[in-house]
Symmetry: C2
Subunit: 222 residues, 2 copies
């Protein structure tokens, strides 16, 4: 398709983003320009740009005026993230129901329904691919640069939460049927149902994540 020269700053950004999201660079890791530049194999200038981008998005914060570290991400952050996510996704669902291409969401609803019955057959990656497709359709339907841009940032952080919470099969299956309902509501133009189904979905997703990372008492935590 599109073949841009692929800038070094983009490679640097992608590399660091992936490492932060995957946990390869755990919270608190000091991010030095020279060090990261050498490691990724670019010069300071593009690496600097990548770091500033991560900093603007909040994945990296400055601990002292001279030292940047990978920002922490705990249960409180996840709760805050989902508060913002609710505001944006419920609105997005409502708007999509009002103006979206109905056939696209009908197709998505069918895809979710097809995936659901034998949930065991659905690999986690396939699930996330389906979600990504849904998100892309949602963005297109919403057709609001400000809203979509805010949602993108939220999703960037969400990737970190997903990693903390090891996905369990039951949750994935439930999530599929929740998405099926949202897609169907949008395809029928039912804005209120779309918004409230999104609310329900996010409620369950948050509960699952918090439960997963904050187990009542795994063994005995001091």
């Amino acid at each position: 398709m599109s073949e841009q020269p692929i800038r070094a700053s983009d490679r640097a950004y992608a590399a660091l983003l992936e490492e932060i999201q995957s946990g390869a660079l755990p919270p608190g890791t000091v991010i030095g320009e020279v060090e990261q530049a050498e490691r990724v194999g670019v010069s300071r200038t593009p690496m600097r740009e990548a770091i500033r981008r991560l900093s603007a998005e909040g994945l990296v914060r400055q601990q002292s005026p001279r030292v940047l570290v990978v920002s922490g991400f705990d249960a409180a952050d996840i709760r805050a993230l989902f508060e913002a996510r609710r505001a944006l996704e419920e609105t997005a669902a409502r708007l999509a129901a009002q103006r979206g291409e109905r056939s696209a969401f009908a197709a998505l609803a069918a895809a979710f329904d097809r995936a659901h019955p034998e949930a065991g057959a659905l690999a986690a990656d396939d699930y996330y691919a389906l979600i990504a497709r849904f998100d892309a359709e949602l963005d297109a339907a919403v057709d609001n640069a400000y809203l979509v841009s805010a949602l993108r940032t939220i999703r960037t952080h969400l990737a970190r939460a997903r990693r903390l919470a090891r996905d369990n099969r039951d949750r994935l299956a439930a999530s599929v049927s929740e998405h099926a309902l949202i897609a169907e509501a949008i395809s029928r133009g039912d804005a209120e149902l779309a918004a409230h189904a999104t609310h329900v979905h996010l409620h369950h997703a948050l509960s699952s994540i918090l439960h997963s990372i904050d187990p009542p008492s795994p063994e005995g935590t001091p």
Copy 2:
């Protein structure tokens, strides 16, 4: 208080931001790194960073792979902006009512009430200062980095809308009393009233702006 060295990239960003918001750099203006760097009096490196920041925020967009221009801002953009703003501010108001420092908002409500009666005595700048204080309290009360960050971006764009719509006195007075109600609702912990009063306020604000920039027929537009 805090006295940081003030970086050249910050000066460059502030300079360009102000010029875009004020309209000194109208939409469509080509933003070249060297040109702007010379004009503002910094080198290419910090100017480049400033431009990337503006680009990330959407105030500047790339027209072709090599040329960046000040992004346009029309009625459709304002409508989209207010859709996103509604989602974020209503949520913010709700959360502030739930967790905010009630005394702070009681004080704000009083300040708005004090400003209202003789609205003629209130200069536009004083009004905006009061709003800024309200926004700051709101951000503090919400205590959610993701939400506040999204709101900040929205407000950056909102400054452009404000300029397009020449403020009229009546609208300012109405806005003051609308804010008084929101602040009072938050101070009383009434989340629903706070959210709905915010909805009402934004509805009026949007109507006023659109009416102002899109007059039924000022004289006769081809």
